[in-house]
C-alpha cells in the first residue's frame, strides 16, 4: 500500500453534508474488475452533464482545484454503500486526504486501506478550513505531527496509533494478520469442539 507522510497543496472545498458513496462514484462505474481508472468518473453526476460534458463551475473542474490532493467536505462524508470504489476513485483522481467533521465508518476504514488520510475536525475548524480552501490558501498536512497547517493556523487532529503507523509505513494488513495464523488455527480447533454446528461445513 502507498505510504502517507505529509501533503502540501490547495484544497478543494465541497460544502455539502452527507456526501454519499453514490455521489462519489455512481453505480455504473462499479462494473469494473480493476481498482484503477475510476478518477475520471469521480463525482460523475456533479462533474458532467447529461451529454458527458464537463460542468464548468463544479469545483473539481476548475483550476487550481482540478489538481487538488485534499478535499474539504461537509459532515458525514462517505455515508451509504461499502463500495471501496469510492476511495479508489478519489485516489485515482489524486485526492490523498479528505477533511470533514465526521465520516461514515466503512468509508473511513476503506480510506486507510488505500493510503488516503481522512481527517476529523471540529465544526469551527471545518468552517475555517472551508474558507481557506475557497481562498486558495495552501494547506500542509503533517501526519507524524498530526496537524493541518493553513497560513498561521495550526489545527491538531486525532488518529488511532495503529492507523497512523499503517499509513506512515504503507503496511500490508493481510501480511501482518497471516503472522498470527497459528492463533487463528487454534481458535478454529477450539470452536470445532465447543460449537460443532458452526463447522458443519457445507
Amino acid at each position: 500500500m502507498d505510504k502517507f507522510h505529509s501533503l502540501k497543496g490547495i484544497a478543494a472545498p465541497l460544502p455539502i453534508v452527507n456526501i454519499d458513496t453514490d455521489m462519489i462514484i455512481p453505480k455504473q462505474f462499479l462494473k469494473t474488475i480493476k481498482r484503477t481508472g475510476l478518477g475520471v468518473s469521480l463525482f460523475y453526476e456533479m462533474r458532467y452533464d447529461n451529454d458527458g460534458n464537463l460542468i464548468k463551475d463544479f469545483v473539481l473542474n476548475t483550476s487550481p482545484y482540478d489538481q487538488s490532493k485534499i478535499l474539504v467536505a461537509g459532515d458525514n462524508f462517505g455515508c451509504g454503500s461499502s463500495r471501496e470504489h469510492a476511495p479508489w476513485s478519489l485516489k485515482d483522481f489524486g485526492i490523498r486526504s479528505v477533511i470533514s467533521t465526521s465520516f461514515a465508518d466503512i468509508f473511513y476504514n476503506n480510506c486507510f486501506q488505500n493510503g488516503i488520510l481522512p481527517i476529523v475536525v471540529s465544526p469551527e475548524n471545518l468552517d475555517q478550513l472551508m474558507t481557506a480552501a475557497k481562498n486558495q490558501i495552501e494547506f500542509t498536512i503533517d501526519l507524524p505531527k498530526q496537524v493541518v497547517k493553513v497560513g498561521n493556523h495550526l489545527i491538531k487532529f486525532e488518529i488511532e496509533e495503529f492507523r497512523k503507523e499503517r499509513l506512515l509505513q504503507g503496511l500490508d494488513d493481510i501480511g501482518i494478520t497471516l503472522g498470527y495464523k497459528d492463533k487463528i488455527n487454534a481458535y478454529e480447533e477450539d470452536k470445532k469442539n465447543k460449537k460443532p454446528w458452526l463447522f458443519k461445513d457445507n
Binding site: 460544502p15 455539502i16 453534508v17 452527507n18 454519499d20 453514490d22 455521489m23 455512481p26 453505480k27 455504473q28 462499479l30 462494473k31 469494473t32 474488475i33 480493476k34 481498482r35 453526476e45 447529461n50 461537509g74 459532515d75 458525514n76 455515508c79 451509504g80 454503500s81 461499502s82 463500495r83 471501496e84 476511495p87 465526521s102 461514515a104 465508518d105 466503512i106 476504514n109 476503506n110 486501506q113 488505500n114 488511532e160 496509533e161 495503529f162 499503517r166 494488513d173 493481510i174 501480511g175 501482518i176 494478520t177 497471516l178 498470527y180 495464523k181 492463533k183 487463528i184 481458535y187 478454529e188 470452536k191 460449537k195 460443532p196 454446528w197 458452526l198 458443519k200 461445513d201 457445507n202
Partner: protein
C-alpha cells in the same frame, strides 16, 4: 470492555470471536460466515492471486450474483461489463472451491435474502459481506456488517477481520404498533429521529415489545436499514421466533446439534443490567406511516405531513441541504405528501423483497388496477421467494393488477442493471436509499413500506394505507 460484569448481546458475540490482539494493538475478530457477490469481490480475488495467497476456509464463504443481474431474459446478460463481472465470480469461486449459487439456481437471489432463507445466518455468528446492508443479518442476533473490498480479501485470506469494538446503543420501541404502521415505518422513523450519522461508531440493539413482536422478516427490515442511521450493525436478541424460523432450513444446525445450538443462542440476549453508551426509548403510538421527501433517508415525514420549508431549518447548513434536496426532488415546501404524483413503483430489495412483503402488496392490490400513468414492478428477493409467491397465486394477483413480475435481484434499488429511473421520474420505492441518482440519474425516490407503495400504485399518488379501501 471488561470480561466481568453484565454484557450486551454485542459484547458477548465480540468476546466469543476474539482471536487475539496484534502487536499494533488491534483486535483480530474471527468471521464465521462470509457472503460474497460479484461487484465488490473481483479485486479481492485478484489481490489474492497477485500475492499468491489461498482462501483460508472456503467452506465458510457463500457466493451469489445479485447486484448486476437482469430481472428479465437472464440467460443472456447484454451489458458486457456486467457479464464479465458475473462470469468472474463464477470463475473465482470455482477456482477456490467456494459454494456459488448461479443465475439458473432457484436459490439465487439478493445476498441478504438468501443468507437467512438458507439458514446460513444464525444467532451469535459473525457475518461479513462487501455490502453495507449486511446489517440485515443482525435480526438473528448475529454480528453482521459491511466491509470494503480490501477487507473482503483479508477475510478470504485469514477468516478474520481487524476491528476495534463498537459502542453500544439501544433503541427500544414499546407498545402495540398502530394500524397501518409496520417495520419499515419504524426504521424510517428512527432514522429521522437520530439522523444518518446518529449511529456512527455504534452497534444499535433494537429492543422493546414492538420490535420483539415483529416476525423475522420485519426484524430484518429494521436491521437492514441500520446502516442508513450510520451504525456499524443492527442487532436483535434471538428468541423463540428466531429459532422457529431457522429450524429445518438447509444450512441450519441438524438434529444432532440443534439442542446444543439453541442452548447457546438462548444465552446471547443482553444481560438485564448491561450498560449502553446511548439509549433511546420510543413509544410506537407516536409513529405514523412514514415517507421520505428528500435525498437522504433521514428526510422523513409522516404520510399525513407536508414537504418541509427550508426557512424552518435550525442551522444554515441544514437549510442549504433542504434546498438542495427540494431542487433535486422537484418539490415545493408545504406540498402535501399525498398530493405527490408518481411515475413508477418499485417493490423489492433486501429491505422489502421477502414473501411477507409480497403477500401484503397482493392483499392490497387484489382485484384492483394500478393507476394508468404509473409503471409498477415487483422484484422478488430470491428465486425461492418468487417460487413461493407463484405457488400462493400472488404473481397472478399482481400481474392482473398491472404489475410487472420479475426475476430475483437487487434491480432498481441501485439500478446497476437495466432497471433504472429516467431523469425526473418519481418513484415510490420499498428500498433503502433515496440518494441523488441512486435509482437512475435524475431519478426521484420516495422510500416507504410495501403497504404504502401498493396503495400508491393504485391511486398513482403517494397514499396513506389507512385511507385506502
Amino acid at each position: 470492555m471488561s470480561n466481568q460484569g453484565p454484557k450486551t448481546l454485542f459484547d458477548k458475540i465480540w468476546s466469543e470471536h476474539l482471536v487475539g490482539q496484534r502487536e499494533d494493538g488491534t483486535n483480530l475478530l474471527y468471521i464465521d460466515r462470509h457472503l460474497v457477490h460479484e461487484v465488490t469481490s473481483p479485486q479481492a480475488f485478484e489481490g489474492l492471486k497477485l500475492s499468491n495467497r489461498p482462501v483460508h476456509r472456503p467452506e465458510a464463504t457463500i457466493a451469489v450474483a445479485d447486484h448486476n443481474v437482469p430481472t428479465i431474459n437472464r440467460q443472456n446478460i447484454e451489458d458486457p461489463q456486467s457479464k464479465i463481472q458475473v462470469e468472474t465470480l463464477a470463475k473465482n469461486t470455482k477456482e477456490h472451491g467456494i459454494q456459488y449459487f448461479d443465475l439458473m439456481d432457484q436459490r439465487q437471489g439478493i445476498v441478504h435474502i438468501i443468507g437467512p432463507e438458507q439458514g446460513i445466518t444464525q444467532p451469535g455468528m459473525t457475518i461479513v459481506c462487501g455490502d453495507s446492508h449486511t446489517s440485515t443479518h443482525g435480526a438473528f442476533g448475529a454480528l453482521a456488517f459491511g466491509i470494503g473490498t480490501s477487507e473482503v480479501e483479508h477475510v478470504l485470506a485469514t477468516q478474520t477481520i481487524v476491528q476495534n469494538p463498537a459502542k453500544n446503543m439501544r433503541i427500544s420501541v414499546n407498545g402495540e404498533l398502530p394500524f397501518g404502521v409496520n417495520s419499515k415505518d419504524l426504521i424510517l422513523y428512527i432514522i429521522g429521529k437520530i439522523g444518518t450519522a446518529g449511529g456512527t461508531g455504534h452497534v444499535i440493539e433494537y429492543a422493546g415489545s414492538s420490535i420483539m413482536g415483529l416476525s423475522m422478516e420485519g426484524r430484518m427490515t429494521i436491521c437492514n436499514m441500520s446502516i442508513e442511521a450510520g451504525a456499524r450493525a443492527g442487532l436483535i436478541s434471538p428468541d423463540q421466533t428466531t429459532f422457529n424460523y431457522i429450524k429445518g432450513r438447509p444450512y441450519a444446525p441438524g438434529t444432532e446439534h440443534w439442542d446444543q445450538a439453541v442452548e447457546y443462542w438462548s444465552s446471547l440476549p443482553s444481560d438485564n443490567d448491561a450498560n449502553y453508551d446511548n439509549e433511546i426509548v420510543i413509544e410506537s403510538s407516536e409513529i405514523d406511516p412514514m415517507v421520505t421527501w428528500g435525498t437522504s433517508p433521514e428526510d422523513v415525514v409522516s404520510v399525513k405531513g407536508t414537504v418541509p420549508n427550508p426557512s424552518s431549518a435550525k442551522t444554515e447548513n441544514k437549510k442549504k441541504s433542504i434546498e438542495r434536496s427540494l431542487e433535486y426532488m422537484g418539490l415545493k415546501p408545504g406540498t402535501k405528501i399525498t398530493d405527490i404524483k408518481l411515475d413508477k413503483i418499485f417493490i423489492g430489495s433486501c429491505t422489502n423483497g421477502r414473501i411477507e412483503d409480497l403477500r401484503k402488496v397482493a392483499s392490497i392490490v387484489k382485484d384492483k388496477k394500478i393507476a394508468s400513468h404509473v409503471q409498477a414492478m415487483i422484484v422478488p428477493g430470491s428465486g425461492l421467494v418468487k417460487k413461493q409467491a407463484e405457488e400462493e397465486g400472488i404473481d397472478k394477483i399482481l400481474k392482473d393488477a398491472g404489475f410487472e413480475w420479475r426475476e430475483a435481484g437487487c434491480s432498481m434499488c441501485l439500478g446497476m442493471n437495466p432497471d433504472q429511473l429516467k431523469p425526473g421520474e418519481r418513484c415510490a420505492s420499498t428500498s433503502n436509499r433515496n440518494f441523488e441518482g441512486r435509482q437512475g440519474r435524475g431519478g426521484r425516490t420516495h422510500l416507504m413500506s410495501p403497504e404504502l407503495a401498493a396503495a400508491s400504485a393504485i391511486t398513482g399518488n403517494i397514499s396513506d394505507i389507512r385511507d385506502f379501501t
